[in-house]
Symmetry: C2
Subunit: 190 residues, 2 copies
């Protein structure tokens, strides 16, 4: 069992049978020392890739992306923005994402200035469930002509489709903890 | 002229006469190495304060807060969430904030689990204009009974009221760059 799996068992809790909350260290209160350890694991996995930019999405991916940047010689971080307003201005890559949590669709945008065909990306997020946010980031990366060198998430919910979809698309996906099942409040990892 | 002022002159640009954009290094694409230098300046200023937690607000404050945490021996970061939905659940501190950019009101929330009267806070954000976001964070800190040891922002727009309001409330506010005026596209610092 790795450090994230141990931490999930220690500090995670379950809501409504299938929502796992890790808000005490990963996505509301942030244990930066712990996230730095996760960043080092991610760096080690992707160390042979020529990564020059970290792409994530607001808000929960930003802290982990920041710490991963430090491991990759301060590669710049770009975070995609979630837009609810219609009037967006020009010069944006945009994609449409359906939220698993709220069931609403929102737009994800990145300024065209900050992604290009010269980029070798590591895409990062805190959670992977149905994969909608990651598919939005992949779509935007494709629009920019950037090369996706790898994708990493902290927690994958293995009983939802996202991980399989992303892997079937051919991407090198590193999930630090894959939750296989939640039964009667007991969390099992793959 | 300090490193942030120099960087604003080099890479910032002006929209609509009074909006200054620093999205190439501070709040969309993030220059993590540069933000780390800002974090060190903030640490140096507040080094004698007994800070045990960093409080910020999603999304643009998170990267800087993460790097400041590293300077303060990995003090945990808590980021307040911007809520647009009405159904929030219990056990939240909440405050109402009017956005300068969109002119809409939104709610800012922090789980009651993550702030308490034991906390000695450094409040951090990227920008200070009218001070509405900071006032929301101060309100939430007060609800929790936490002690605010200091407040730091990267860029203060000195020609708006926020900085004066926060200082008049008695807080120790460190703004790394204070923009005094923007005239015909020329940025002047205080």
């Amino acid at each position: 069992m790795n450090i994230l799996e141990k931490r999930i068992l220690k500090d995670g809790y379950i809501l409504d049978d299938d929502i796992i909350k890790v808000d005490s260290f990963l996505n509301h209160k942030l244990d930066i020392k712990f996230l730095k350890e996760l960043a080092k694991i991610i760096k080690d996995y992707f160390k042979d890739k020529n990564i020059n930019k970290i792409l994530t999405i607001e808000a929960s991916g930003i802290a982990l992306a920041t710490l991963i940047s430090e491991e990759f010689d301060y590669a710049p971080v770009v975070f995609a923005k979630k837009q609810r307003n219609k009037n967006l201005g020009k010069d944006l890559y945009e994609s449409h994402v359906k939220s698993f949590t709220t069931d609403k669709e929102y737009r994800v945008t990145v300024s065209k200035k900050f992604l290009s065909e010269d980029d070798h990306l590591l895409i990062v997020d805190d959670f992977l469930a149905e994969g909608n946010a990651l598919k939005g980031l992949i779509d935007i990366s494709d629009q920019a002509g950037a090369k996706i060198e790898g994708i990493s998430v902290a927690v994958e919910k293995g009983f939802q489709d996202g991980g399989k979809i992303i892997r079937d698309m051919g991407y090198d996906l590193l999930s630090l903890a894959i939750i296989d099942s939640i039964n009667s409040g007991e969390i099992k990892f793959k």
